[in-house]
Symmetry: C2
Subunit: 331 residues, 2 copies
DNA sequence: CATATTATTGTTACACGTAACATTAACATA
DNA sequence: TATGTTAATGTTACGTGTAACAATAATATG
């Protein structure tokens, strides 16, 4: 009953040639004679032929699809990474298959297997620690892989990102320079990058003889969470005079909570975030934050992957991109 | 040189059975004898076998992949839609292929063709107007299609969304009720949904005997744009006492600009946004906005698509979800 | 013990576009 | 006219997992 969609053979039959001739037309119209070009074009139109990549993928395993595996698709950070990736791959004629693993290693394994089962030509993934099973899969699959977000070393093949630990160290140091002493760190999610940032923060505090203090949760960050954390800290450590948050969301939440509570920022408490989203750079007061090159990470990852798909060798194993300390008005 | 990744045949050879037996094991381990189960498991492990969906897609054209086509992948609205979709399809064992078309119809055609060339089992798309070519493609492909975002009528098959025009009408009406008379509309992008909202706004103004005024641009919205628009309007229409923005970004940008310029919100100017993102519901003052069920749209679209993939008929052609007027503190 | 039944594994064919090679037709040149 | 060259189209084979059917072995039943 449900007629299947037309194949090349159907088109060829309508024209009265073999499917190979139609295939040639599709690849490059000038490979067939001009009268045939017209008739084939008409037949394609009449039947509404839609190309089918499956047989080609099967016989030469080039899918022209690349897999992008991220912890989350909603987090704004990763949205911007995706924009960077798509900006390169879409014009290059590659289809991106996005997957997310919700920060779970098990899920990461399953997602990579799925992407590979669709014969993606390359992978962009976003953690630097991987289980042995994942490493084996990537090796066996033999597709180029790029790890993004942290400039981790040594990478499986190639890594592109920032030095999260150094970035957190720098911002903490900057806050101390600005006169904040009792600086508390607000952490959420507790993923790999957050752990690195905590390390940087703690090191910076200790280097100045100060005592680090971390408020943590494994759940996702949000504006509300920033506010909740602030209340908690003010209750337990009323002399806190600085808050460094693992991302802008927490920072903005904390800042609004201060405004509501009548606490002056930055006079009474200095607040800093991480990433430098648009909102942080438009709000009043401007948020102090670490500006990270999220879109560029995506763009570069895609460009390097593309280069390797074109047969070029790895150019640079680790690409460490610069971050920037934005002073804002909240410190 | 580059050893290709192992096939079922390689695994079968190692065990000393036919690939059919291994295929059975993969589908349901109990279909093969227990001693074989162990040996197959070992062989799979040794070789690091990765399933290959291509042949199956080719022979029965069920890919267990669904295509999601959105105007933009970075816009927070669509991020949340994606979350809703993935929340359903991921546990159901479907891989989503995301694509975006940057609000261009040409690109929409190309992207749909690409998704179909990978034999997606179903499509979620996000415009209600489509070219004839697109309609033909969808018809020929014979896969279930769901249109999301606006509760448009009549849909190709099924549409899920909100009534954008009614929502804009309701908010405009609410602003007028609150005493704002010279309400200006800030529009960006000028996509289908924005046009509907403008229509609702204009109708509401006219119904109250007021003159609608729209500030427009085809470029993307941003916080900065909201600020720019505000300056412009204050120069040209200094007696403006209300601003209704096509999304929260513009509204927040305008609100911050007011704060910087010393204009009191809502006393001098009332400001309203659209969508009700987290930030709008956390900021000071709370933004008046239309709360839209973005994630639910994604979730419902996925659930209905899944139901149809399981062979069920269309249950309801148009699903019109409720929006909510959030009064906030900015009106 | 013979036949029926079930459990387990094997065989064959298929999906469809394209690379590689083969053929035919058309034209040019000596 | 015979041979060489090019242009245009055709033929064949291939990739890999699985449905459908076939065959065999093992067990049960009368």
């Amino acid at each position: 009953m449900k007629k299947k969609r037309p194949t090349l053979q159907d088109v060829a039959d309508l024209v009265g040639v073999t499917k190979m001739t139609v295939s040639r037309y599709l690849k490059n119209a000038d490979l067939v004679s001009s009268p045939l070009q017209i008739r084939i074009r008409e037949a394609l139109d009449t039947l509404g032929y839609i190309p089918n990549r499956a047989p080609d993928i099967l016989s030469n395993s080039k899918s022209h699809a690349i897999g992008v595996l991220l912890p989350s698709l909603t987090n704004q950070v990763f949205s911007e990474v995706i924009r960077g990736v798509e900006g390169v791959f879409e014009p290059a004629g590659y289809q991106t298959m996005l997957a997310h693993y919700g920060y779970s290693r098990e899920s990461e394994e399953a997602r990579i297997a799925t992407l590979l089962s669709y014969n993606v030509d390359g992978l962009i993934i976003s953690e630097s620690f991987h289980t042995d099973r994942v490493r084996k899969m990537l090796e066996v699959a033999g597709v180029p892989v790029i790890e993004i977000m942290d400039s981790v070393s040594p990478p499986i093949e190639q890594a592109i990102g920032i030095d999260n630990e150094a970035a957190a160290y720098a911002m903490t140091h900057f806050m101390i320079e600005k006169g904040h002493r009792k600086v508390v760190y607000f952490a959420a999610r507790m993923d790999e990058r957050t752990l690195l940032k905590i390390k940087g923060y703690e090191r910076a505090m200790q280097d100045q003889g100060l005592t680090p203090l971390c408020v943590k949760t494994t759940s996702a960050s949000s504006f509300t969470l920033g506010a909740t954390f602030l209340e908690e800290v003010l209750k337990q450590q009323p002399d806190t005079d600085g808050i460094f948050c693992t991302n802008d969301d927490l920072a903005i939440g904390a800042l609004y909570a201060c405004q509501k509570a009548g606490i002056k920022v930055p006079e009474q408490i200095g607040i800093a975030g991480f990433h430098g989203h648009d909102i942080s750079r438009a709000m009043v007061p401007l948020l102090a934050t670490v500006i990270t090159p999220r879109e560029e990470i995506g763009r570069l990852a895609a460009e390097h992957l593309l280069s390797r798909l074109q047969g070029n060798p790895i150019q640079q194993r680790v690409i460490d991109l610069p971050f920037k300390i934005e002073a804002g008005e909240s410190l």
